[in-house]
């Protein structure tokens, strides 16, 4: 880790004596304040701390919250504007060209940018653990809490850095510290209460949670789930540091993410699906999976440049149209739907869910997904012609999701909710007959018509561009005169 040049670079700027002195003094003041207030309460307060053990327990909770504040709020805030700052400072090209692996870059930023914060957090953790042992908190509980602390820290910081990298076109770097302070202020109370309950003899360290029937302490399961998020955020970072101009997910990556997510989701719900309420709990599995089917394609958009690249290697114009379609964002999204469908059927069978309800849910969701994917495809294909088209398509997408709810509320007709992709959930609880359920299906097909025409037109344009370039090149003329957009 010491050999990582990025950590070394941040060490220069983070560990300047004047900076260490200021933040070190700040931490010492906060720590002394906590100690002073708590010891005063113990000595002069009535009933708050009756024994010394309770005082130590209280100190453990407060230092743990301080640790959480540093690792879950300050560190991610530090990471959230790293790339934007590099771009604003006009040094991003140098960073991109560093001949070190993407993993080293990610670790270098995460550790280097938070170096001072991590050093103070380590000192704080030592104090926290000392008070924990003195307060008689079970070692198993502290171990589980540390596992959650570490995994959530990793996940939050990686996700924060990933978002920083995703917004690499940003030219202004805003500090997130004011936001962190506000969030910290509002979460302090609930967090304090939660921590007190956790360490107050609730036996949470022995409370079991299940993953496909395997029992483990609930905090370890939480830790594993956050590690799953952290692992994917890390993979995303590696991709962004090596292929800056491509989408976050490749097609294979999106499929794998969906697959692993569904495996984890089904694992978390499996035991409950077998129970008497399984037929209702399965909705949670279906809808959580569907949410991802709708979101992942947004991070896997293939741009028009990619279509140009795909069409370059096509030898015949006749096959090109289908080739474009197969490589399109629409088919990419449908692959995710198929993965969801397989797991959704398995979950439905396990929970003995209503097959007719599921069938309708799948069909209408499929049609709604086609509309969303067609909007994404239209954006990808038309954006080079009109870089503002995203606003119009985004507005249409919001309208498509929200308008049915507004109209449903105005006309006091819940059936209208089904026309929104967010209202499809109503199918599961509504007991609608087939005639009613066919209406949103037809509505979605009608929505698809104009989008289909726009998409078809651009595929046709691409076929024409390549045919023209091919024929000019064959006659020895300069093909660069053919406009590509």
């Amino acid at each position: 880790m010491c050999a990582n040049p990025i950590i070394r670079r941040y060490r220069f700027s983070q560990l300047r004596p004047q900076q260490v002195w200021v933040f070190g003094a700040l931490y010492v003041c906060v720590a002394l304040l906590i100690l002073f207030i708590n010891s005063s309460i113990y000595r002069y307060g009535e009933g708050a701390y009756t024994t010394l053990t309770e005082l130590y327990k209280g100190l453990f909770v407060q230092f743990a919250i301080l640790e959480v504040f540093m690792l879950w709020l300050l560190c991610p805030a530090n990471c959230s504007n790293v790339v934007a700052r590099e771009i604003a400072d006009k040094s991003f090209d140098f960073f991109r060209m560093l001949p070190i692996r993407a993993g080293q870059k990610a670790v270098g930023i995460l550790v280097g940018r938070n170096l001072l914060c991590l050093i103070i957090a380590t000192v704080n953790l030592g104090l926290c653990l000392a008070f924990g042992f003195a307060g008689g908190i079970p070692a198993a509980l502290m171990l589980q809490m540390m596992a959650v602390l570490a995994s959530v820290t990793a996940a939050l910081n990686l996700v924060s850095l990933l978002f920083s990298v995703l917004s690499y076109k940003k030219s202004k770097a805003h500090s997130s510290i004011p936001l962190v302070l506000i969030v910290g202020l509002f979460t302090f109370g609930p967090l304090m209460g939660m921590m007190r309950t956790t360490v107050g003899g609730g036996q949470i360290e022995t409370y079991p949670a299940f993953f496909y029937g395997a029992a483990m302490p609930v905090l370890y399961l939480v830790s594993c789930c956050t590690l799953f998020v952290a692992a994917w955020a890390y993979i995303g970072l590696l991709r962004r540091f090596t292929r800056e101009y491509e989408a976050l997910f490749s097609r294979v990556g999106a499929g794998l993410f969906m697959l692993t997510f569904m495996v984890v989701l089904c694992g978390l719900f499996y035991v409950y699906l077998l129970g008497p309420d399984g037929h209702r709990i399965v909705w949670g599995v279906w809808l959580s999976g569907l949410l991802l089917v709708g979101i992942v394609p947004l991070f896997a958009i293939r741009s028009f440049d990619r279509y140009l690249e795909i069409s370059r290697t096509a030898h015949r114009a006749t096959g090109l149209f289908w080739r474009l379609l197969v490589n399109s964002n629409i088919v990419g999204g449908l692959v995710l739907f198929v993965i969801w469908l397989v797991f959704a059927i398995a979950a439905g069978l396990t929970a003995k869910a209503d097959r007719v309800d599921f069938l309708w849910l799948s069909i209408i969701t499929f049609s709604a997904l086609l509309v969303i994917l067609a909007l994404i495809e239209t954006y990808a294909l038309w954006q080079p012609r009109n870089d503002k088209i995203g606003y119009l398509l985004g507005f249409l997408a919001i309208l498509y999701c929200v308008l049915p709810f507004i109209l449903g509320a105005i006309f006091e007709n819940e059936t209208l909710f089904l026309f929104s992709p967010l209202g499809i959930v109503g199918i599961l609880d509504g007991g609608y007959d087939a005639t009613v359920l066919l209406m949103p299906l037809f509505f979605n097909l009608i929505c698809l018509l104009p989008l289909g025409i726009l998409i078809g037109k651009r595929y046709y344009d691409l076929v024409c561009i390549r045919t023209q370039i091919g024929s000019l090149a064959a006659h020895g003329a300069d093909p660069s005169s053919v406009p590509l957009n």
Binding site: P5, R8, R9
Partner: protein, 313 residues
């Protein structure tokens, strides 16, 4: 085999073809001047070689490593200076160069020495403990060059490196680049200000609208464009006698006289110049000056612009 090899390299953006079918080779010790009007594709070409852009088509190798397959290996061997850049404002000059040296795997025991040497070369040793945020634009530009010197890359890709430099620093830059070329580094340098490149480029790549219009050594390009050489003769005394002798020489095709100076257009090589000198001296004419006229890059580019109908913005 060339240190830098490009074969039919092409870069398409959604709205335009930025670089179209460009091929050339550059050997060790060559200084290749990329010249062309704004929007010719020079920066895109350099950014592709710097692994910052992926070519849409074609292949390229730098120091034997493939541009698409081995970008990390290429990054270790090249030094790229973008046209507009800044360096980490919160670091001192010494810290910044230390960072670059270590990031580019310079052995630890050599880092301090190289940092000092690089700072001395760009005349910034007195500022070594100042933070970069306090440097002027020109100083940052010089520091950028120092970040390349400290790691001694085999190939330097410089995009408009003299912009923002004062005349003294420009002369310094040329001296540094000449020295690096003598040490066997390959340098690709882009500019649309031709005087920047005059005098130290060994090769010229002229680009326009994404295409390589002409590539070769400066002499080759001069020959290609002019076909003939120009010789300037200054004489003493009887100019009529001198003109008679010069017009009588079979290798001289045209003579333009102005006061005591004659500009001759003639074919052949240096032996023709020797023959002119001999004839004038034998004919009793005092020769004060005799020189082959070197075409400046501006003249080359303007001639080419007219011949190839380039659009200069």
């Amino acid at each position: 085999m060339g240190i830098v090899q490009l074969k039919a390299i092409r870069k398409e953006f959604s709205s335009l073809v930025a670089v179209d079918d460009v091929s050339f080779e550059a050997e060790a010790g060559q200084v290749v001047g990329l010249i062309g009007p704004n929007g010719a594709g020079k920066t895109t070409l350099l950014r592709m070689l710097a692994t910052l852009l992926v070519p849409t088509d074609g292949t390229a190798t730098v120091c034997g490593a493939d541009l698409r397959k081995q970008p990390l290996s290429i990054r270790r061997n090249i030094g790229y200076l973008p046209d507009f850049f800044n360096l980490y404002p919160d670091l001192t000059l010494r810290e910044c160069l230390d960072f670059f040296a270590r990031a580019y795997h310079v052995p630890s025991q050599q880092v301090a020495g190289r940092v000092d040497a690089a700072l001395k070369t760009v005349s910034l040793e007195s500022k070594k403990d100042s933070q970069i945020r306090h440097l002027s634009r020109g100083m940052v530009q010089r520091l950028g060059l120092a970040t390349l010197l400290v790691r001694e890359p085999s190939v330097l890709l410089l995009d408009e490196p003299a912009s923002g430099l004062d005349p003294m620093a420009r002369i310094q830059l040329r001296d540094i680049l000449r020295r690096l070329a003598q040490e066997g580094k390959t340098i690709l340098i882009s500019s649309h200000i031709l005087t920047e490149l005059s005098g130290f480029c060994t090769h010229i790549a002229i680009m326009n609208a994404g295409r390589l219009v002409m590539y070769g050594s400066v002499e080759e390009i001069e020959r290609q464009i002019a076909g003939q050489q120009a010789v300037v003769v200054k004489v003493l005394g009887d100019t009529a006698q001198a003109e008679r002798i010069l017009r009588g020489l079979p290798s001289v095709e045209a003579v333009a006289a102005s006061d005591h100076t004659f500009t001759l257009t003639c074919g052949g090589g240096p032996e023709v110049v020797a023959e002119i000198n001999r004839s004038l001296v034998t004919g009793g004419v005092g020769v004060v000056e005799l020189a082959r006229h070197k075409t400046s890059l501006e003249e080359l580019f303007m001639t080419l612009s007219i011949e190839k109908n380039l659009h200069i913005s």
